[in-house]
Symmetry: D2
Subunit: 349 residues, 4 copies
């Protein structure tokens, strides 16, 4: 089978590098172009200041950095690691040129016609694409990832919502420094410290899960009905966002019932058995002191949501801890999985 | 003025060392004895493996380690850093011998006749002592500290409860490694990691604030009426416990009203102007990314509760962040402050 | 091909766990027994407090913990993760029973008949085994690993010694916490800190490389002639020992000559193309700020020695930085490679 | 006594903030002006993003940020925290205007007429000032600090050189992140990591101690005769540079002799009993695992050089470990001490 050409937009930053890494040897996709800002165009990608722990893949070393335009990228699928402030315009250029854009940027997450896609949660929100095309007049389309902190908790909430109806939830995150990009958090700010503030993050995490778990009715997205309260913190962890979650349900489950529902949760048919499908979708860790980011973030190659400590909550119904790899599941890996679903669904020309 | 002789029980461990340090040069108290376990008795205290960042005070270097008995300690006030499993018996021995015991151990916190004393919160719970003496038949008495995580949030909740009536609160802690003693947390367990579990901690923190903010009616303590849900986490911070708090009130305050109440909160008359009185009792940090443990834990010489980020909560009424120094305010410094109140109240012979 | 049965002695500790992990799916060896201390015997290995970041392999979960005796282990090859104080006697028991013992313990490193084997450096020191068998009267044998800090620098020194003759070297280590086992270093001792002392370590690292690079003449080992001065430090790194090295040679090379020699260094014939042969033996990193433990420790699946910053030294001839994964190359992986060489050389019955 | 007006040049950066902090309440100096870059001029200093763990002193909150000119600063003494690239010109402007400039910048360290002043080492190098004034035609003068890594080791080497004659030394540093300023080192670069490279640092540290321990003969500075080889590393420590040192002498001392010489070392007469004189100049820590940055950096209010582990070296004569607080002793505190010496010596009008 011939692989589909794909390009990575803004490939030189830390999220861009994750795309470069995770697409190395992908069975369906072949990276044919890496784009960068004007100052980088014309350089070899090998000159990039590489910040990941595995070495730069060979294929990427030999590619030049090209401009972030549909012509230069020349691929029916692009993965975007653009900062949000540039994403609005550049990603629209690609969609207008007929390209399927899978982005990690937040620019379009609030757009009611753009799905925040997490295949195991809401593959059916691809039903928004006809609306998007019609409203925007784009032959291509844009699909976004959620914020990396929304990611894991939304997978857990979806499984629980299906079974018991989520009414409201408190959520406190302990987020990894890689979520702030590179150079991101200064070492003097985080060594022997916690920063109990991440600009704009709480607003995102209180809203995005409602969109993701919402329903598309007649081409229009309706937010899920539950309410969230979110505190976000930065801690001295390299990768892996930990979330403490207290949840109230329509119908109170026992911890054992919730564990069973979480452990048995399956992605919708269209999102199963793809190269980046998490295996399992949710892993419920049996130990009382897990999940922990250093030990559990790579579960399912970094794509699995890990849940632990499901126990009664004195105010709501259940407490639990949710862990998700923020730069794999919550960024590049998530976008790749999204693209795989779209290919299977015949949405890529 | 002649200083009152005091002894430190279990002076060689990490909390004992904090007592040794904080009592150096205390205007009212003179350390006359340091006790230790059988294996240490007879050694010079100078041989202790000292783990604090300031050097061992001179006065302590020259004291011998003596047994943990009232005879060897020979002082009307003792500060106890005993592990809970030894505290039940040994602390009772001291109280039975007429000594005022100020302890950091958890052994007696659940005893309805033993106050969990935080002077700026509940100095009036000293009214329990006559009941304690009568029921136990002790000429002396025992007064405990709260758990170090309960400490800061209880001070904040008390100020808010007085003004607006606390109904319920969610609380998620990010706790320093010093809270686990020495050697305590293995470095391999916390470097680049979070441990979302501390054995027995959540139960304590869900209950102790209700006792502390309770009322003594006719010599009997009545728990405060609010309910708490607590998640506890260990993070790579040396000192200073950070707590994310969402609170629901009887009467909803604006963030500005809550800030005013917190900033203006005063200790009861009997707890003011003592050597270890926190100055201020509560500091409300104006910056949006504070408090942070590394930057704010030493506020008020480590005795002040620091609050920040008071803001609306979508589910309850207000969110905020509370920081308290766990080994000063939440351990040794707290006990010393307790003893000062008792001296002023004439409870020490 | 049928796999050779092997046992892991002291399989429940942190080094034992690395053996369990690295032998999972080994093409030649099949783990048939896991031994532990008396208190663990009879338990399932699944009950072990697992400290590695990858999950416990399935094969191990189903094995019982058996006593550390040749009868219970019942395998011609054993990998020993025993603490040195137990190793002297227990490892001799195995050798006496005809078993080939590959050990990470230091007990026999000073024994002139026991090779400290690093195959790419001194596979020919297997010539000591006839002497060992004769002197000890053992039908089996013992082969040790070096200290984990000696490991990487010895590989680099060997390559350079062959080409230019090493005369003397200064070496300062920055060692990972995993080198102290589990629980090992207390977190309070290493957060925001350096410990410039590791008990007994400097003596080992000043001597072992001389034995490893020594020659076997008529069945007797002659130490290499160079002299070393070593400072050892513990730093807040999980895995990977970094060594700063200044070397004086018989014949001064340019940095470029040294780089070429290092990069071209090959293991002796008998140590090539084995499952655990490092690929490459030495990687010379081209960047000016490398090697770094977090980025480079997994080079060659953790078996490769990474060298960087080869540059002139104002006192000796060359300065450089050497990195080696202390629990893979410097412990379990090293022993497995040693066993592979012995199988190929026909030393296992 | 009236205090001398002083200004801090580039007061808003991390070194500038240390000056602001350490000059709070200084008995001789009163800060009358804080300068900053053009973008900051006119703002209140209270708007500075403060990065130190103690709060911003009150006096500074009320000062405006003024331009870095002699007119705006209007003080006979200025402390400069300028980056080196701006220091060359701006510091000369001040000296030309008759001001005594005490700088942390490296711009003039190589100038043969500018002393790298460490009062306890080389107060007599003030004898260079007449030469400086003559050659430059400045009514004022410039005096620099050494690089923060040179600092502690030079104090130790000076004491040893006086007694035994230093011939050569190997030095490997483990440097704190605060040495790189703010934001400085990215947290992703140093968490669970070591960076074995600091740009330009090794060259400085190999040369500066020779200048500092040199002699002024007829107004000309002669470098000390010894040779140094230096490796520099960045580690995950907030403050405090640790240096492993191996030293060869003209006359070999025993470790005990060296300890005695170090512990007894006194500053020259003119540098004693000043407000910032380190007390003691050198502290020789008796424990085998010290000095450690977290435990020992604040010795003598951060001004003392702490030495430990003095022991025989197999290649040279002695090994030891030296610790110095890089932002107090090695930066702002050092400059203040320098200014105090100049005031006492009558060099300030």
């Amino acid at each position: 089978m011939e692989r589909i050409p794909v390009a990575i937009i803004a490939a030189t930053g830390s999220v861009g590098q994750r795309f470069v890494q995770l697409l190395d040897g992908h069975p369906w996709f072949e990276v044919v172009a890496l784009t960068g800002s004007d100052g980088r165009v014309g350089q070899s990608y090998a000159e990039t200041h590489w910040v990941l722990t595995d070495p730069m893949p060979e294929y990427a070393r030999n590619l030049p950095v090209v401009p972030s335009t549909p012509e230069a990228a020349n691929a029916p699928i692009v993965f975007s690691a653009l900062p949000s402030k540039y994403a609005t315009e550049i990603e629209a250029n690609f969609a207008r040129a007929g390209v399927g854009v899978f982005t990690n940027a937040g620019a379009y997450r609030r757009d009611p016609t753009v799905p925040i896609l997490v295949p195991e949660v809401n593959a059916e929100q691809l039903a928004l694409l006809p609306t998007q095309r019609k409203e925007k007049g784009w032959p291509g389309f844009i699909i976004t990832n959620p914020n990396c902190t929304s990611m894991g908790m939304t997978v857990a909430l979806k499984a629980l919502d299906d079974a018991f109806g989520v009414r409201r939830a408190f959520s406190v995150s302990l987020q990894a420094i890689s979520g702030a990009g590179y150079p991101g958090v200064a070492s003097l700010d985080i060594l022997d410290n916690v920063i109990p503030f991440i600009d704009g993050e709480e607003e995102k995490v209180e809203w995005e899960p409602r969109k993701m778990i919402g329903k598309v009715v007649d081409g229009t997205l309706q937010l899920a009905n539950f309410q969230l309260s979110v505190h976000t913190n930065r801690v001295a962890v390299s990768d892996g966002h930990t979330v403490c979650l207290s949840v109230e349900f329509d119908r109170e489950p026992s911890p054992a019932e919730a564990v069973e529902v979480l452990a048995d949760y399956q992605a919708p048919e269209s999102a199963r058995d793809l190269p980046f499908t998490p295996r399992p979708v949710i892993f419920v860790h049996p130990d009382q002191d897990r999940p922990q980011p250093r030990l559990d973030r790579m579960t399912g190659k970094g794509m699995t949501t890990v849940v632990g400590r499901v126990r009664p909550d004195p105010l709501f119904h259940l407490k639990m801890v949710v862990l998700s790899h923020n730069t794999i599941r919550g960024a590049a890996g998530g976008s790749i999985y999204n693209a795989e679903v779209c290919v299977r669904e015949g949405l890529i020309k």
